[in-house]
């Protein structure tokens, strides 16, 4: 029998706020452990949580970006469980009236396939547990940092609309871009600001029945999500093919062994004893405010790709590449206001700007797009050649200098005086009679050698195409 995977994802993203969800403690990453805690986020008696307006705004923004219905009278609920990462022994979350529900995200790389979004809700992040000595269950003891406890978190649950690891991968990439362009989250998996659990069951082809669902945890990258889902689909198919039963359970992905493992241990159905959070009154969102938040939405990654193709004439692959790197795409947009050679602009951004940003470890976000525009203009005017333009651009960006001044100061301006170049070429031809002979016999290499000699005597300041022309003019009359 043939089976098809039925896959759903549960994504958690930390919202990009300065402070926590219900208190004014800093939400910054990498502070001294337990230095961003207060009576509210520690759950000390008598403290009262107050909603962070920015977190609420980002939640509504995400909900609308995902085409969800925003529930104006949404509310918070208390989810009770004992675990050392929760200082209060409960988490303020949302249960039966989530902030957003019934949405979808069209994934352009999946030819626009809409993936249902069942719900997205706000909650607080838990603290960070560091297990001392091995994994969760093998650790001798654990250490807890509560700085993260209380940071605003958005949970996004998809419908089981995905059918392969690859689809899950594409969906996650598109979702990440959507959240990044809307500045909803940093989406840094390595810092834990984006996390993903996946669930998968196999269903016989031509049947609407679903098999038992397996939840996969410990997925540390989008690639791990894809690999774990592919492994799990194959494992379940193997179990079913020998008429075995797939157990409904939670399994851990082991990145080194590239397998999922059952966590074993009896799992009693979780009982979180949800009830309406008494310390936070229900929301009464204003329709005009919701509309205002919606109006502030950035264009979707798909709209952006289309704009690059249609308005700027970029090829499909080029538009995809730019949109996949928001800091480069934003750089492109800033530069494209002042420079109309869009293809040239794209080439320099995907080449030089990317190289400089990587080598100097600077984000393109803070690089001056004006420096690239001015450098390209100097090149277009013929004042500097391509090689010089590269040097000028790098210095202008790294040291914040003016490209035109750099070109002048350093004597980098191109030698355009053909008379002076002609003399240099004559010199080189006289000094290298053998190469001249070889070239005239049709050896291409000799021509390149001569060109190189002239260029090195100008210290790279000449336009190679002009030098080549003069070389051709002067070398042929020397034929005996």
């Amino acid at each position: 029998m043939n089976y098809r995977p039925v896959i759903g994802l549960e994504i958690h993203v930390e919202l990009k706020t300065e402070t926590k969800m219900f208190c004014s403690c800093s939400a910054a990453f990498g502070e001294e452990p337990n230095s961003s805690c207060c009576p509210v986020c520690l759950g000390l008696p008598g403290s009262l949580p107050v909603i962070n307006r920015k977190a609420l705004e980002l939640g509504v923004k995400a909900a609308r970006a995902l085409n969800c219905t925003v529930e104006a009278n949404s509310r918070f609920d208390r989810k009770n469980y004992f675990y050392p990462d929760l200082p209060k022994a409960y988490q303020i979350s949302q249960y039966d009236i989530p902030l957003g529900h019934s949405g979808y995200l069209e994934v352009e790389p999946l030819t626009g396939k809409p993936i249902g979004i069942q719900r997205c809700h706000l909650e607080e992040e838990a603290g960070k547990l560091l297990h001392h000595g091995g994994s969760l269950l093998e650790a001798e003891y654990s250490l807890v940092d509560y700085n993260r406890a209380g940071i605003p978190l958005l949970e996004i649950v998809t419908a089981p609309d995905l059918i392969s690891g690859d689809e899950a991968y594409c969906f996650l990439n598109e979702l990440r871009l959507l959240l990044l362009y809307n500045r909803i989250s940093d989406c840094r998996m390595e810092e834990g600001s984006l996390r993903c659990d996946a669930n998968i069951s196999l269903s016989p082809v031509n049947s609407n029945s679903w098999g038992n669902k397996v939840e996969i945890k410990n997925l540390n990258s989008f690639k791990a999500v894809k690999a774990a889902l592919e492994f799990e689909a194959a494992r379940q198919e193997e179990v079913l093919s020998r008429r075995g039963e797939v157990l409904q359970e939670t399994r851990h992905w082991d990145e080194n062994q590239r397998k999922t493992f059952s966590l074993r241990g009896k799992e009693e159905a979780a009982d979180y004893r949800y009830f309406p959070e008494p310390d936070v009154p229900p929301l009464q969102l204003d329709g005009i405010w919701i509309q205002k938040v919606e109006d502030s939405l950035a264009e979707t990654p798909a709209e952006r790709r289309r704009r690059y193709r249609e308005q700027y004439g970029l090829k499909e692959g080029e538009a995809d590449l730019l949109v996949a790197h928001p800091s480069l795409a934003d750089f492109f947009d800033r530069a494209a206001i002042k420079y109309k050679g869009y293809r040239q602009l794209f080439n320099w951004i995907s080449g030089e700007i990317t190289r400089i940003a990587r080598q100097k470890n600077i984000s393109p976000e803070v690089l001056d797009s004006g420096a690239l525009v001015e450098t390209l203009q100097l090149m277009d005017e013929g004042s500097i050649n391509r090689g010089t333009a590269r040097k000028v651009l790098e210095e202008a960006l790294v040291e914040g200098k003016n490209p035109a001044e750099l070109a002048l100061d350093k004597g980098m301006e191109q030698i355009t005086d053909t008379g002076a170049l002609g003399e240099l070429v004559d010199e080189v031809l006289r000094d290298n009679p053998r190469a001249v002979g070889d070239y005239l016999e049709g050896k291409k290499k000799a021509g390149n050698f001569l060109l190189g000699q002239v260029m090195s005597r100008t210290r790279g300041k000449a336009d190679p195409s002009v030098v080549k022309e003069i070389l051709e003019e002067q070398v042929h009359p020397r034929k005996r």
């Binding site: 337990n34 230095s35 307006r53 509310r75 547990l129 269950l137 654990s142 009982d271």
Partner: protein, 97 residues
């Protein structure tokens, strides 16, 4: 009665409190009274009454501006065990242990 005892076991499991059989008898009895009282309320016809989750519906929000947190020493004052500025907790056991 059997139902009551399985509820006591469930609650004891959830709250991680081990109960002796005498304690179970005691709590099963008390639980019966508590549930009975709640049942009494359900006798009322609330068909036309919208559910009330809060008595106080005035909600407010705050600006996203950081303020001073507690000093680390203050945060850790009542912590039984620590390692530098981290809280040290016993290993997390699975439910079978």
């Amino acid at each position: 009665m059997e139902e009551l005892y399985s509820l006591v076991d469930h609650l004891s499991n959830l709250s991680r409190i081990k109960l002796s059989s005498e304690e179970k008898d005691l709590i099963a009895g008390q639980l019966k009274d508590i549930l009975g009282a709640a049942q009494k309320v359900q006798e009322l016809d609330t068909g036309g009454v919208p559910p009330t989750t809060h008595v106080f519906y005035q909600w407010r929000t705050r600006e996203d501006v950081p303020a001073e947190s507690l000093p680390v020493e203050e945060v850790l004052r009542n912590v039984p065990e620590r390692e530098s500025s981290l809280v040290r907790v016993p290993r997390i056991k699975s439910l079978d242990e």
